[in-house]
Every structure is written in structure tokens, then in C-alpha cells.
């Protein structure tokens, strides 16, 4: 495969040069805007540095402080972990359910699909504003409707117990975004399988668990990873609605990172914080990946269930 340059024909050399020219914008961006910054973040994480003065090397001190002497760090880990644990099942389960509905063969389905996807294109700030208004304890529409059936609604974002579930349930509204991707997965399932199941007399529930779900697992696997990473990065909702409160109930990790790095300018410590999050995200992704051969079905794989 690899040959020394002198053995290459002139045309090959010319093509290679054109190749490097064409990817050069990306290469420039990669080196200046990604590679060097990431290396710098790693270096800064071992320093005491407050943007005004020069970074001072302090070894592992930032990391030691984080794990032994920083209640806010644990608070942020706890809030973020709870958020992931609450919102991820919501997104996955309701996303699949919605995609099953949107896969029905009825007239005008495209119309429904278009409507359910709407919330997925709206941004974090607008959605946060909208939900702040919908979940107002006294005049919000949700509590107004609850009052109609005689239930006194909670104070939602303004109650330490309810704030986190409130933020997590906001993801329910955006579930159309992932439903569309599941839908693509569903439509790749060969129809012969359903016909065969029908002939064998399998009911709807059974067909779902023995055909639909196993064949959807590759899509589920990708979505699980993507949605998990997204959930770990929750920020805007808390920044706009709760500012991390009440009583730090929604003090998510990236909010802590933002405050340390860009408000208190403890840039060295913030660098260490963000690297810990990256390690957490990476190990969670690897964990999901590790378990995948037990539950992800790939076509042509004989041993799969």
C-alpha cells in the first residue's frame, strides 16, 4: 500500500496535492479551533489561572479539590445525573411510541408528522420562555387546567422538589425530533417479516416485541448515545428559567462550568471541570457501546435473538 513518493506517478502526486488543497480549510480549522484549544484546556486544568494573570502549574490540585472539597461539584453532578435519569427514558420511550403512531398508514399522515416535529425546530431560549409561562404557579395554563379538575398544581420551577422534574418533562414536548429518526428505522423493516408474523398468527403486541423492537435496536442504540450526550449538556433551560435554583435543585454541570469559567473567571478550575464531564460522557458512551452486543440486533448476525 504505502509506497515512497518517488515511486508515485506524476498524476498521483498532483492528485494528492489537490487533495491537501481541498481539505486545507478544514485542516486549518481543526488545528487552530479544535486541536490546540483542547490541548490547552488539558494544560489549563493543571493550573491556577484567573484569566487576568498567567497560569500557574499546580499539578492535580484542581482535581483533588473537586473531589474532596467542593460541595457545588457534587451538587452539579447530582442535578445532572438526576436530569439524565429522568429525561432519557422520557425521550426514548415516548419517541418510540410517537414514531409507531406516525408510522400508521392513514391519509394525511405527513400533515401530522409535520406538526409533531414543530417543537423540535424551536430553540432553547424560546422554549424556556414558553414553559416559564405555561408552568406559572398561579396563572399558568397547566395549573389552570389542573384546577378545573380540582387538583392544586405544584409550584413547578419554583419548588425545589418539582423544579428538576419540570425541566426534565420539557423534553417531552420535543420528542417529535427523535420520533422522526425512529420512523426512518421503522420504515427500513422489511414488510415480509410482518406478513410472515401475520400468517403465523402473531398478535400486535407480540409482533412489536419480536419483530419491530429488535429490528429497531440499531436506531435505538444511536439515539440512546446521542440523546444521552445531549442530556448531559443541559444548560439553556436552567440558565433562562431557574438560574440553577431553587436551592440549587437545577444547578446543572454546564451551568456550574459557565459560572466558574465565564463569570468568576476561575478558568483553570473550569477547565478541569469540563474535562471531568467529557470523561464522564465518554465512559458512559463506552458503557452503552460495551453492552450493545447484548441487545442491538444487526442483520446477518446469526446469534442475535
Amino acid at each position: 500500500m504505502r509506497r515512497p513518493w518517488k515511486n508515485r506517478s506524476q498524476a498521483e502526486v498532483k492528485e494528492a496535492i489537490c487533495g491537501y488543497i481541498s481539505i486545507s480549510p478544514w485542516l486549518f480549522g481543526f488545528v487552530i479551533l479544535t486541536f490546540i484549544p483542547i490541548l490547552s484546556t488539558i494544560y489549563y486544568s493543571f493550573t491556577r489561572w484567573t484569566i487576568m494573570d498567567a497560569p500557574v502549574w499546580i499539578g492535580m490540585e484542581n482535581y483533588v479539590r473537586m473531589f474532596t472539597n467542593d460541595p457545588l461539584f457534587y451538587q452539579a453532578i447530582k442535578a445532572t445525573g438526576l436530569y439524565v435519569a429522568m429525561s432519557l427514558p422520557i425521550v426514548i420511550v415516548f419517541g418510540v411510541l410517537l414514531s409507531l403512531l406516525l408510522n400508521m398508514k392513514i391519509k394525511g399522515m405527513n400533515f401530522y408528522r409535520t406538526l409533531f416535529y414543530i417543537p423540535a425546530v424551536i430553540s432553547g431560549v424560546s422554549i424556556a420562555m414558553l414553559w416559564t409561562w405555561l408552568l406559572q404557579p398561579d396563572v399558568g395554563i397547566v395549573n389552570t387546567l389542573l384546577a378545573l379538575v380540582g387538583i392544586e398544581g405544584p409550584k413547578w420551577f419554583w419548588d425545589p422538589k418539582w423544579a428538576l422534574p419540570s425541566v426534565a418533562s420539557m423534553s417531552l414536548w420535543k420528542v417529535g425530533g427523535s420520533a422522526v429518526i425512529y420512523l426512518a428505522g421503522l420504515q427500513n423493516i422489511p414488510p415480509q417479516l410482518y406478513e410472515a408474523a401475520k400468517i403465523d398468527g402473531a398478535g400486535k403486541v407480540r409482533t412489536f416485541f419480536t419483530i419491530t423492537l429488535p429490528l429497531l435496536t440499531p436506531t435505538l442504540f444511536f439515539q440512546l448515545i446521542i440523546q444521552m450526550i445531549e442530556a448531559f449538556k443541559v444548560f439553556t433551560e436552567a440558565f433562562v428559567i431557574t438560574k440553577g435554583g431553587p436551592l440549587k435543585a437545577t444547578y446543572f454541570y454546564l451551568l456550574y462550568f459557565y459560572e466558574e469559567g465565564f463569570q468568576h473567571f476561575n478558568t483553570g478550575y473550569a477547565s478541569a471541570l469540563i474535562l471531568v464531564l467529557v470523561v464522564v460522557i465518554m465512559s458512559m458512551t463506552m458503557l452503552v457501546n460495551y453492552t450493545s452486543n447484548r441487545w442491538v440486533y444487526y442483520e446477518g448476525d446469526e446469534k442475535a435473538k
Binding site: E12, E15, A16, I17, C18, G19, Y20, S22, I23, P25, W26, L27, G29, F30, L33, T34, P37, I38, T41, Y44, I51, M104, I106, K107, Y112, L115, F116, I118, P119, V121, I122, S123, G124, V125, S126, M129, W131, T132, W133, Q136, V139, I141, T144, W173, G176, V180, A184, T219, F222, Q223, I226, I229, F257, G261, F262, T267, A270, I274, V278, I281
Partner: protein, 290 residues
């Protein structure tokens, strides 16, 4: 004989009635669900058209007695929303130019040309798609401060000119589906390496380029974190920053706030309805972006 055909047609009719009933029930279910899904948007519009007293009235009115459309112009004069929208549009246009200059060129290199180290570099493109932006934010911020470029649009638009990895990946995949015979035929006709890209392949890539333009619009319009970090003068704010600022200043006037929020969503919604088929198809086909 006659009775037999009668019973058969009766069975068919019965079956048809059952089918019609089933489809009516399905539609009713779907419509109910859609309505529940869209209540928040309706409620936002309803609030945006009320007076500041009416929003606190009990029992709640779903449709305001008088539609106060002036709330929208009011919201736009309280905070220079139009200016923020203009700023954002400017950034979007420049970014689109950047992406359209960079991405086809880069994708062409990866999809069509042979050069040493291509596989490793392609893996790097893929892996940069996964890295959270926050990982490089602090060094980037200090770099731009040193260059005197913070509180300008440079930090926001410069990355577009180096190609967004997701778009590069998308276009590589798209170019790979175009037959290589096209390149060969053009080569025989004496078209140069880059001539093949700009005269032969690029016109065929228009569907993929449309997706890139649409996403650049949507993502930039919705972008919050980077403008928050880089922009400090409020005349330079983007629309999302402006909306956040609006909330800080007029936090009790929910009718105006909802008017502003709705106005912020409107361009995105229009863009979505304009390009929804391509957009949904685009995400589903790549299946990577959440």
C-alpha cells in the same frame, strides 16, 4: 346463488364500515394528540394578544375579547428586536457563504481525491463531530480576547469558513452516491481536478447544499451559548440573547414577552414549513443528529 352474493356483499359492506369506523377513530385520536401538542403554541398566541390585565383574569379566556395586535409592535419598541434579528440574519448570511465556500471543497477532497493520510483525517472529521463545544470554549475565548476579537462577530462566523464537520460528513456521503463515470467523462474532455467539482459535481449536490443552508439558518438563529460568551455590547446581540435580555427587563409583562417569543419563533417556523420535507428526510437519512 342470489342469497350467496347478497351475503358476500353484506360481509364486504360490514368490513368496510368497520374499516371506516376504525380510520375515523384513528384520526380523532391523532387530532386530539396533535391539539394537545399544539396547545402551548396556541396559548402563547392567545397571551400575546391580551392586555397585561387580561392575562391575570380568572376564569381564563382562551380567545381574548379584543385582539391586541399592537402588543407585537410594543414588544419591538421596548427592546430593539428588529435590530437583534438583523444582527442574527447578518451572521447567518455570512456563515452560509462560509459553509458553501468551504464544505464542498473539503467534501470533494475526501470523497473523490486520493492522498496519503486520508483515512486518519476522515476519522478526525467524524470524531470532532462528537466533541462538546464547551471543551474548547475557554482557550478559544482567551484567544479571541488576545486578538481583540471578542465582542465582534468573528468568533461566531470564523468556524463556518473552515466547514462544520457535520456538514462535511453529510456532503461526503452525498458525493459518494454520485457516479464516478461523471468525473471520468469530464477528465477525458479535459476538465481539471477542481473543474470537475465546480462544473460537474456541485450542480448535482444542490439537494444536500439546501440541507446545509437550512440547518445553518436554524442552528444559528437558535444559537445561545456562543453569542452569550462572546458578545457583550447589547447593540450587537443576536435574537436569542435579546429575548433573554427582554425577560430580564420586562419579566411581568407576559403578553409582551410572549409576543416577542412568538416573533422569535416565526422565522424558524416559516423556514421549517418551507423546507420540512428535505429537513426531516435529511436528519433521518443521516440519523446522527438528535
Amino acid at each position: 346463488m342470489k342469497t350467496q352474493t347478497q351475503t358476500i356483499s353484506a360481509v364486504i359492506r360490514k368490513h368496510k364500515i368497520r374499516q371506516v369506523r376504525k380510520s375515523i377513530l384513528t384520526h380523532m385520536f391523532m387530532i386530539t394528540l396533535t391539539l394537545i401538542f399544539l396547545v402551548p403554541i396556541f396559548w402563547m398566541l392567545s397571551t400575546a394578544l391580551k392586555t397585561r390585565w387580561e392575562i391575570f383574569v380568572w376564569p381564563t379566556t382562551w380567545i381574548p375579547k379584543v385582539l391586541h395586535w399592537e402588543n407585537f409592535s410594543d414588544a419591538f419598541t421596548r427592546v430593539p428586536m428588529l435590530r437583534f434579528m438583523g444582527n442574527t440574519l447578518f451572521i447567518i448570511v455570512v456563515k452560509i457563504i462560509g459553509e458553501l465556500l468551504a464544505v464542498p471543497l473539503i467534501a470533494y477532497g475526501f470523497a473523490r481525491l486520493r492522498f496519503p493520510g486520508k483515512k486518519v483525517l476522515f476519522l478526525l472529521v467524524i470524531s470532532t463531530m462528537m466533541i462538546p463545544l464547551q471543551t474548547k470554549l475557554i482557550p478559544l475565548f482567551t484567544m479571541y480576547v488576545k486578538l481583540g476579537l471578542n465582542d465582534t462577530y468573528w468568533p461566531l462566523i470564523l468556524p463556518a469558513f473552515t466547514g462544520t464537520p457535520f456538514f462535511i460528513f453529510l456532503l461526503i456521503q452525498y458525493m459518494k452516491t454520485l457516479p464516478r463515470d461523471l468525473d471520468d467523462a469530464a477528465k477525458i474532455d479535459g476538465v481539471g481536478t477542481f473543474g470537475i467539482l465546480y462544473r460537474i459535481l456541485l450542480p448535482l449536490c444542490i439537494p444536500a447544499l439546501t440541507i446545509i443552508v437550512t440547518y445553518t439558518f436554524l442552528w444559528t438563529w437558535n444559537e445561545f451559548l456562543q453569542p452569550l460568551i462572546y458578545l457583550s455590547t447589547y447593540e450587537k446581540f443576536t435574537i436569542q440573547l435579546g429575548l433573554e435580555m427582554f425577560k430580564g427587563i420586562w419579566s411581568v409583562e407576559w403578553n409582551l414577552l410572549m409576543a416577542a417569543t412568538l416573533a422569535t419563533m416565526l422565522p424558524v417556523l416559516l423556514m421549517y414549513f418551507f423546507a420540512q420535507k428535505k429537513l426531516i428526510g435529511g436528519i433521518a437519512s443521516v440519523g446522527l443528529k438528535g
